[in-house]
């Protein structure tokens, strides 16, 4: 018997706890905004947030005081500029200090793979590329290849307490389909102790080709039906990325008061994601 779809608020209150390490993955595409906003509404604290590209969703969670630690590989607003709330946390410790663990994209993708494989670390070739490895507490270490003696970079495994993904479809048996840019979503899910998903639609049978990215139902702790759940990111085949919103965020997030007011009105002040989409005029 597949687990029934549960309301997102129940999924978050049951599976995301203060102090958890949490990866909301999805590389530009399928970013689980609705789930992030529900975490903000439930006022989780002390989270260790993990994401390759923190994007607007972690800018919002950091600015709202959910996180004390961030593991990431590129923290900007793509094509626009800074994540101002992330910057203010790092530069001025507002609303609280944020400890950083920083990787390159290739390293962090490998860290998820190691976690998904039950390894303590995974390796890649080492070159004198970056000062990241010269930091007092470097995120990666060096070791020689036992076969060739060539120098390797060892990247520690990442095993989030919770990975949350957004996806296009769930079928009657609870299997979940991701279509389009997949990023490191599958690796992040398989590395996690618990996997939560939000989905655009429920169907009888997935529209999945033979080699499609499908997460079988038995890997998933909880699934919630949240149409538009990736907005202002996007769900391929359902709706496009709202590039206008990504540009507008630059101005909203630049200022503490404007940010707090936006979050109060569009996240704390609404019961759920659908209500937010209606206020924004995105959904009728």
């Amino acid at each position: 018997m597949p687990a029934p779809l549960v309301p997102l608020s129940d999924a978050i209150s049951r599976h995301v706890h203060d102090g958890d390490s949490v990866a909301l993955e999805g590389f530009t595409h399928l970013i689980p905004f609705a789930a992030g906003h529900e975490i903000i509404r439930q006022r989780r604290r002390g989270l260790h947030l993990i994401r390759m590209t923190p994007d607007l969703i972690y800018d919002q969670m950091i600015g709202m005081g959910c996180a004390t630690r961030l593991t990431f590989s590129w923290g900007g607003n793509p094509g626009v500029g800074s994540l101002h709330r992330l910057r203010e946390a790092v530069e001025r410790q507002w609303p609280q200090p944020l400890a950083l663990t920083e990787f390159t994209h290739a390293e962090l993708a490998l860290a998820y793979q190691a976690g998904a494989s039950g390894m303590s670390c995974a390796v890649m070739p080492h070159y004198a590329a970056t000062d990241l490895e010269a930091l007092p507490r470097p995120s990666v270490r060096r070791l020689p290849c036992p076969f060739t003696g060539r120098e390797l970079t060892a990247v520690p495994a990442i095993n989030p307490d919770v990975t949350i993904l957004h996806a296009q479809q769930i079928d009657a048996a609870g299997n979940v389909l991701i279509r389009g840019i997949v990023g490191a979503a599958r690796e992040a899910a398989l590395a996690a102790r618990r996997v939560l998903v939000t989905v655009e639609e429920r169907v009888e049978t997935l529209a999945a080709g033979m080699n499609a990215v499908v997460l079988p139902a038995w890997l998933i702790a909880s699934a919630s039906l949240v149409p538009g759940g990736a907005y202002p990111s996007y769900a391929q085949g359902c709706y496009a990325r709202d590039n206008r919103f990504y540009r507008a965020w630059d101005e909203i997030a630049r200022d503490r008061e404007a940010f707090s007011a936006w979050m109060e009105r569009h996240v704390l002040g609404v019961p759920d994601h659908a209500a937010q989409l209606r206020i924004l005029g995105v959904a009728a």
């Binding site: 590389f27 530009t28 595409h29 390759m52 990431f72 590989s73 590129w74 923290g75 900007g76 793509p78 094509g79 626009v80 800074s82 994540l83 910057r87 790092v90 530069e91 920083e102 990787f103 390159t104 994209h105 290739a106 993708a109 490998l110 998820y112 793979q113 070159y127 004198a128 590329a129 970056t130 000062d131 990241l132 930091l135 007092p136 389009g180 840019i181 997949v182 990023g183 490191a184 599958r186 690796e187 149409p227 538009g228 202002p232 996007y234 391929q236 709706y239 496009a240 990325r241 709202d242 590039n243 206008r244 990504y246 540009r247 989409l277 209606r278 005029g281 995105v282 959904a283 009728a284």
Partner: protein, 263 residues
């Protein structure tokens, strides 16, 4: 003085596009690199293979993406691969000819900083960080860099080395074993810098029409050397400008389109 019929961004984009040979495999960053690669593809290099780090391979977008992973890239890609695969099986394996990078700071050996201004632990400005750049800088057979030139960005000493150019120059990069050859050119809003073959120090190799070497020197935070042969770079051709402007107009329209989600 006559006003050029193009903007600094336009001549930078066209100059960068001209560096790309038809059939090359390019790892593309967002912004000017993306505009340059697509301009090349729409003009002299129809068989350019464009890879964006979102795992989209062989894309042929009709409009420029705002992010590295817009749906336009997925819809026009030959294939979409997971992130561990794009970095390991394509970039790290040596399948990329040209990597395109920008940064907040560059030094005279083409090393780049996109991590912090100031001290890492207490930065004056926290920049986005490395992303794909450190590995692109290491593995792409050659690297093109596009950056606006100013004493704040062309610095004597980086606050942080995010990605390697020629390290300390004079063969240090090659000795480190880095597979790629390093930066072949730095395209700026004044002209082009290229590494001197022995020292690998970047020197002024080309200027846009109407720009002086003195102006380029004043926009550089180290004493910029001038190459023995200083080239005058050609202005954009009308067809290149028309193609670029059409591409950007299509992009503006697409990005302004409101999103509607049926609930």
């Amino acid at each position: 003085m006559s006003v050029p019929a193009y903007t600094p961004d336009e001549i930078m984009t066209v100059t960068a596009a001209r560096q790309l040979k038809d059939g090359a495999v390019c790892f593309v960053g967002i912004g000017l690199p993306s505009a340059a690669c697509n301009l090349a593809r729409l003009t002299h290099a129809p068989n350019l293979v464009l890879i964006y780090e979102s795992g989209t391979v062989g894309v042929r977008p009709n409009v420029l993406p705002l992010s590295i992973g817009d749906g336009e890239l997925a819809e026009t890609a030959t294939c979409i691969v997971p992130l561990p695969e794009i970095f390991a099986h394509y970039l790290q394996r040596g399948r990329v000819d040209v990597g395109f990078l920008g940064a907040a700071q560059i030094d005279r050996y083409g090393n780049l900083n996109s991590t912090v201004v100031g001290d890492y632990a207490h930065p004056a400005v926290r920049l986005p960080g490395g992303g794909g750049a450190p590995e692109i800088a290491t593995y792409a057979r050659e690297v093109l860099i596009i950056m606006k030139q100013s004493p704040r960005s062309f610095v004597p000493r980086l606050d942080f080395r995010t990605s390697c150019g020629y390290l300390g120059g004079s063969g240090e990069r090659a000795a480190s074993g880095a597979p790629g050859a390093g930066p072949r050119a730095v395209i700026t809003d004044f002209g082009m810098l290229r590494p001197q073959p022995d020292s690998e120090e970047l020197e002024l190799a080309g200027l846009y029409p109407g720009i002086t070497a003195d102006a380029a020197r004043q926009a550089t935070g180290w004493p910029l050397k001038v190459a023995a042969r200083l080239e005058t770079l050609p202005p954009p051709e009308p067809q290149q400008l028309a193609t670029l402007r059409e591409l950007e107009a299509r992009t503006r329209t697409a990005h302004a389109r409101p999103i509607h989600i049926p609930l």
